[in-house]
């Protein structure tokens, strides 16, 4: 196991170098004027251009700039936004909990519905329930989620008035953030109405962000279950006279769970992409909205740093999922 972890860690190094190269190169190679891009300005005097160029270190050799970029990143310095005069990492850290909270609720929604739906569809293969569920899953998988969000706002918030349209919590509630998670913070402060408000704000964004993962998990669970249900050990369990519930719940489901866990782990990158759209629609103050706004005001110091941090987070989470997977499934370790 230790060997597997070390091997997996070694693979991180080229990926890390690649990610930093991309983040470093995008602004310098593709843009017409990297100084203007990083400063977030369109027009500037030659003097200011020269000053900023000096400040960003553009007069030094490119490998030195890159080395500096990587070493700073390793020390947690991902640049400073010229516009807002704040460190990119600080901005990220204040907004990240909002995205994590949203993503966790979205995955909770996807898993709680997707896994049971997939199991029932597999057990009742070919039934109307199976067909309707798989049809719905394909619709969910094909969903333009930004439109889905707008539609839900029209119906649930607009026509029915059940949920708020945007934001994380009612404006009347204000308390010092402790964890950055509105649901947890409101409970720590013992503010029950605030907790309810936070939950109500989470409903629609979680559904929107969770729709595609839900569809993928339901399909994956069904096919994993179908595969396992045809195995000899399930037939043995059946012929021993065990109740169908026990056969499905214990003998089949446990083994079907392995590919499902991988699928869930693979959704992390997808959740980040989905968060960009979901947060834009619901004015959710998280990483996705932050990146879009930085792009909008041409604050490329923030874009560059943010892109790098997000990619690193996805990389670390994927590493974590792989190791977890190897713990659950010994076959992986041997390879």
């Amino acid at each position: 196991m230790l060997r597997y972890i070390l091997h997996r860690l070694a693979l991180i190094v080229p990926t890390f170098i690649g990610i930093t190269l991309v983040a470093f190169g995008l602004v310098r190679l593709l843009g017409s004027d990297p100084v203007a891009l990083l400063a977030g300005e369109r027009v500037m005097s030659p003097e200011r251009h020269a000053l900023l160029s000096e400040q960003f270190g553009f007069n030094r050799p490119i490998w030195e700039q890159y080395l500096d970029f990587v070493l700073s990143a390793l020390q947690g310095d991902f640049g400073i936004s010229i516009r807002t005069k704040t460190a990119v990492l600080d901005q990220f850290l204040t907004l990240f909990p909002a995205t994590v909270e949203l993503a966790l609720f979205a995955m909770l929604f996807a898993i709680l519905i997707g896994i049971p739906a997939g199991i029932f569809a597999a057990v009742k293969r070919g039934s109307w329930f199976d067909q309707v569920t798989m049809g719905a899953a394909l619709v969910g998988y094909s969903m333009p989620i930004f439109w889905w969000g707008l539609l839900l706002i029209i119906v649930v918030s607009g026509m029915l008035g059940w949920t708020p349209v945007s934001g994380r919590i009612g404006l009347q509630f204000f308390f010092r953030p402790i964890t950055g998670f509105m649901t947890i913070d409101s409970l720590i402060h013992g503010n029950w109405p605030a907790f309810v408000s936070a939950l109500r704000h989470l409903i629609l964004p979680s559904i929107v962000l969770g729709t595609i993962p839900l569809a993928i998990i339901a399909r994956q669970t069904r096919s994993a279950m179908l595969e396992v249900l045809g195995e000899d050990y399930v037939r043995t369990a059946r012929s021993k006279g065990l109740s169908p519930r026990r056969v499905i719940g214990i003998h089949a489901f446990r083994n079907a769970l392995i590919p499902v866990i991988t699928t869930i782990g693979l959704q992390v990158g997808m959740l980040m992409a989905g968060a960009i759209l979901t947060e834009t629609i619901f004015s959710w103050p998280g990483i996705g909205k932050w990146m879009i706004e930085a792009i909008g005001r041409r604050d490329y110091a923030t874009v560059q740093g943010g892109l790098l941090i997000v990619a690193l987070v996805v990389m670390v989470v994927n590493l974590f999922v792989d190791v977890l997977y190897a713990l659950v499934n010994p076959r992986i370790r041997v390879q």
């Binding site: 690649g18 094909s142 333009p144 960009i276 892109l307 997000v310």
Partner: protein, 302 residues
């Protein structure tokens, strides 16, 4: 089965025809796939004949008819069947013309991503060694970024617009083709027919393109279908965020970009373009599911 098991050895033409017929037999078992194919064909026809079918031009402004509701709702007009948008343009006409953009986006993106991805994947799988390592590391790095975020940043630096959006999406979709092609080539490379072609004196390029590649087509076709629908979704998302096709282009995602402010006043402006995206993408994904079942020999008859 009876007509296929004929004792007479068929000519090549017949063989191809028989293969196609066998494919259709497996494909048509899946009712959803057949429906998806029909919807897709209709969409293609709508795109081709857009100028004939659309009641108005996509950009014609009827300044006296702003936010007219659809024809079945009170205040609707038979002149604008699906209503008009905030500037007074006919939504139905814009949707019909928009079909051209979505299909063109899918086609261009998949072509670019497939050609470059398959080329890289075949080279990697054929030569192995450091070439393989280098190519696949680059693909891994592209996959390390959330695709939409990478596409967004690329487009914002290259400049807003449909062409750059298509390039960016092709770039983020290409690793999937490269991985598939590489895996397929690696599993085919050691087969006897490849060795025999090599012994017969076939060069590297001939071996890669003529001998091996045609036998790896199945999974690549399925991936191309899935990428086609993905490309439409991502391009629409970029358009929605204001970085893809620019207004007044009637691209479906771009049509939604200003619509958030109208959700309480004019539901039809928001609903219709998204529905068009959903139906098209769903149809293509249905076809993709059917293709996978028909082309994947492991799943056949299961």
């Amino acid at each position: 089965m009876t007509e296929i098991a004929s004792p007479v050895p068929p000519k090549t033409g017949n063989l191809r025809w028989a293969a196609l017929r066998e494919f259709w037999r497996y494909f048509s078992v899946n009712k959803g796939a057949v429906i998806g194919l029909w919807v897709f064909v209709v969409t293609v026809l709508i795109a081709i004949f857009a100028p004939v079918l659309a009641p108005h031009s996509a950009e014609q402004v009827f300044s006296k008819s702003i936010l007219v509701p659809p024809v079945w709702q009170q205040g609707g007009s038979s002149m604008f069947i699906l209503g008009t948008d905030a500037v007074g343009r006919d939504i139905l006409s814009r949707l019909i013309h928009g079909a051209r953009f979505s299909l063109a986006i899918g086609l261009v993106v998949v072509t670019i991503a497939m050609i470059s991805g398959v080329t890289l994947g075949v080279i990697a799988g054929y030569f192995r060694g450091w070439v393989d390592a280098a190519i696949m590391r680059v693909m891994d790095i592209i996959l390390a970024f959330p695709s939409l975020l990478l596409a967004l940043v690329l487009v914002s630096i290259l400049g807003k617009g449909l062409f750059n959006a298509m390039l960016a999406i092709a770039l983020v979709l290409q690793p999937h083709f490269a991985r598939l092609a590489r895996a397929a080539v690696m599993s085919e490379k050691t087969r006897e027919y490849v060795t025999s072609a090599k012994v017969a004196g076939a060069g590297h390029i001939r071996l890669m393109l003529v001998t091996i590649l045609p036998n790896c087509l199945g999974p690549l076709i399925v991936q191309a279908t899935l990428s086609f629908s993905n490309a439409i979704l991502e391009a629409a998302a970029l358009g929605f965020l204001g970085l893809g096709a620019q207004p007044p282009t009637p691209e479906w995602g771009t049509m939604l970009s200003g619509a958030r402010d109208l959700i309480t006043r004019a539901w039809w402006v928001v609903t219709m373009p998204g529905l068009a995206i959903l139906v098209t993408v769903l149809a293509i994904n249905l076809v993709g599911d059917g293709l996978r079942d028909a082309l994947d020999p492991k799943l056949k008859r299961s």
